[in-house]
């Protein structure tokens, strides 16, 4: 197992490469979902406000 993580001396280059790639993968998922959630909340708030204004 430790042999696997040592990667024959390339560990210091290999694991950071994998780490930054997976940070980018997760970060892009989070950013996209947050953007959609924010846009949704904002749109719903506007709808509520508009319908409240329409009431007599």
């Amino acid at each position: 197992m430790s042999e696997f993580f040592a990667m024959d001396g390339y560990a210091a280059f290999l694991w950071p490469s994998y780490l930054i790639t997976f940070v980018a993968i997760i970060a892009n998922i989070v950013v996209a979902r947050r953007a959609h959630e924010r846009a949704r909340t904002e749109a719903l708030r506007r709808l509520d406000r508009d319908s409240a204004e329409a009431q007599p």
Partner: protein, 246 residues
Amino acid sequence: MGTNWAWFHRFGSPPHVYRLAGLLTPWFAWPAGLAIVAALYGGLVLAPPDYQQGEGFRIIYVHAPSAWLSVMIYSVMATAAGIGLIWRMKVAHAAAASCAGIGAWFTVVSLVTGMLWGKPMWGTYWVWDPRLTAQLVLLFLYLGYMGLRSGIDDLGRADRASAVLALVGVVNIPIIRYSVEWWNSIHQAPSVMKMEKPSMPMEMLVPLLLMFLGFTLYFAAVMLVRLRAEILRRERNASWIREALR
């Protein structure tokens, strides 16, 4: 005549695209996750060490797919921007805008993983080599595109100006692709993306192809979520929003 163009108009219709994007996202996301996990196992465990680079070659499984995404996303972005410019299609501009952030991220990943691969193999993190320089230019194109968009308040003008920039930047794509052939580059020539037989054994190649597939599907999923956000922001006053969100 009218029916022939119906599909084209549907793709220009924000409510249709918003709904379709929502339906399609999981169909890209789950296969993407499966392909990436399988490729990780194949690349890190099953593939044999390289005869020259030993275990160090395994950086290819994150470097090459990231580099592919950075270039592929730019091509998608420029195509969408071009469609938006020519046919004045707002959804196409929204699609182009949804690509830029993701593309910039993976350009950074390709540069950093390339540096981390370059150090042990070439003895240096960075050289002003044609391939590396063109890839850095790609990052600046993405950043310029995003900067230009956020710098213009009027959405229509931001769409058109950034679309022109995206189209001009397309020149850089063949330069990245062929830089290793046109100039005497330190960067190795393609070992998969070429016409002849790939120059690696199957146990190495299959995980790599799986990673390319996984990254591509992943991009589609993330881009569709961003596109939905972008459409909602642009269509905030449209009546269809009411039905779509309730």
